[in-house]
């Protein structure tokens, strides 16, 4: 019976982990694409600014970024109240959602952090496409948008799948950091058991991660196979 209740609790934590993972991924990909365009901009000021932003975000620990996103707005606000704390209360009392504010703060930090990493992968992918592909589109009268969406994009996607799968797998495990600002994800749940001297659930969480990452790996293999009909 104990195994069953622990599994059930861990599953609840794992749902938060999955939610964080999916939302970060869905939001960080478009933002990353936007940042990659900015770091490739011909306008030097834009390019420079975004290069510095990417440097800062990749140069500071994700855990520190979580703290900054969570605490800094409160420190800067004239009332001295932490807006995420207020959001926590609001969501809890109005909608019955636990730790909603912390979850949103985590999401903001994760999306920005992962968008920065993704942007560099996208930049590498886009810049690796030969000039001839753009020129072929141009002499055939295509617009810039058409060249990107119909000619370049699929080639970029094929190129970036291996580095992206690496980054996405890392994201699965980075979600565990969210606990430092109070998000109750799977490891936090296990840790609560540990504080009651039940240690084994901590080890048990590994199985959840392994299973999830295993499924993701299968998915990436499938996509790679699907795209193997052409060479870039």
């Amino acid at each position: 019976m104990e195994f069953f209740t622990v599994t059930q609790s861990l599953l609840e934590g794992f749902a938060v982990t999955c939610l964080l993972f999916v939302l970060t991924l869905v939001l960080a990909v478009p933002l990353g694409l936007l940042i990659s365009f900015c770091t490739m901009s011909k306008v030097k000021a834009v390019k420079g600014t975004f290069k510095v932003i990417v440097w800062v975000i990749r140069g500071v620990p994700l855990m520190l970024q979580l703290f900054i996103v969570y605490y800094l707005p409160g420190m800067l606000s004239p009332t001295g109240l932490n807006p995420f704390g207020q959001l926590d209360n609001f969501l809890y009392f109005e909608l019955g959602i636990d730790n909603g504010g912390a979850l949103i703060a985590t999401l903001i930090a994760f999306v920005i952090n992962y968008a920065a990493y993704f942007s560099e992968i996208f930049r590498g992918g886009i810049e690796s496409i030969s000039k001839g592909q753009y020129e072929a589109g141009q002499v055939l009268g295509m617009t810039k948008g058409q060249i990107f969406s119909k000619v370049v994009l699929m080639q970029v996607i094929k190129r970036i799948i291996p580095p992206m799968s690496n980054e996405i797998i890392t994201l699965v495990k980075d979600t565990a950091l969210a606990r430092v600002i109070g998000v109750i994800e799977i490891i936090k749940v296990a840790d609560m058991f540990a504080s009651k001297a039940i240690i084994w659930p901590l080890f048990y969480t590994g199985a959840f991660y392994l299973l999830f990452v295993g499924l993701l790996s299968l998915l990436f293999n499938f996509i790679e196979k699907k795209l193997s009909y052409y060479k870039v």
Partner: protein, 265 residues
């Protein structure tokens, strides 16, 4: 008035003057071959005609219409004028993710989409017209691929085709946009020697159809046989221009003589 008039065309890359004032004319249905050593501006000339490079000076007139310099800065207009020229590249530049047929139809279909958008056609009407156009384009593409001898390779992807076959798809793709003037930039230079024949044969077939063609080439024999006019470029200018007999049998310029002597070896 000649069909294509290029006057005093200039192009610099930084401090290097690649084109130092190139002028020539050609009539509809003529074939002009551009020869000369590498690095003398032949490819840059073609790239300027196709707007892959913006010339720094001079003018280009096609069929009485000046396409460079254009007074308007309207970007749409400049894409339209660029399709007066078709271009076949040395390295084919096929789109790897599409099969041979889609490589040919893609630009045609996108042109159709743009046209419908400009006419503000929307909804089911747009869908119907687009479907019709796509079916028509597919027929055109199939006919073109059959013409270049690839009727049985339409479903193949570029990575499954030999260099010669890829270049023939590229030729069909350029023809699909029905350009007024077709440009070939060293179309056989990236091919194994045994594959150049099939590509040259296709080009010869186009020439026999009275198409207007400019070829940058190192295939002297081919240039001599098919061209109405030969342009010999040296050091960013047209050193000598004339019929194949004039250039190959009675070159006047010392540079032309030296170049021909080298290619004879």
């Amino acid at each position: 008035m000649a069909f294509l008039e290029v006057k005093d065309l200039r192009k610099n890359f930084g401090d290097t003057n690649v084109l130092k004032g190139v002028s020539f004319e050609m009539d509809k249905g003529e074939v002009v071959s551009v020869i000369g050593s590498s690095g003398n501006g032949k490819t840059t000339l073609l790239r300027c005609l196709n707007f892959l490079e913006t010339p720094d000076g001079g003018s280009i007139t096609v069929d009485g219409a000046c396409i460079f310099p254009v007074e308007t800065t309207d970007k749409k207009k400049s894409t339209n004028s660029s399709t007066k020229f078709g271009m076949v590249f040395q390295n084919f530049n096929l789109f790897p993710q599409y099969n041979a047929l889609t490589n040919v139809t893609l630009a045609m279909n996108l042109r159709e989409e743009r046209a419908l958008k400009e006419r503000k056609v929307k909804g089911t009407e747009k869908k119907r017209l687009l479907k019709e156009a796509k079916a028509k384009n597919e027929e055109v593409a199939k006919a073109l691929l059959t013409r270049v001898g690839l009727g049985d390779k339409m479903a193949n992807y570029p990575c499954e085709l030999s260099g010669g076959q890829q270049q023939r798809v590229a030729i069909a793709r350029a023809l699909a946009m029905s350009p007024d003037i077709l440009c070939f930039d060293e179309p056989t230079s990236a091919l194994d020697p045994e594959l150049t024949g099939e590509v040259l044969k296709v080009i010869k077939g186009l020439i026999d159809e009275d198409r207007t063609i400019i070829i940058v080439t190192h295939e002297m024999g081919f240039a001599r046989n098919v061209s109405d006019k030969i342009i010999f470029m040296a050091d960013g200018v047209i050193e000598e221009m004339g019929t194949p007999e004039q250039i190959f049998d009675h070159p006047r310029s010392e540079k032309t003589k030296a170049f021909l002597a080298k290619t004879d070896e």
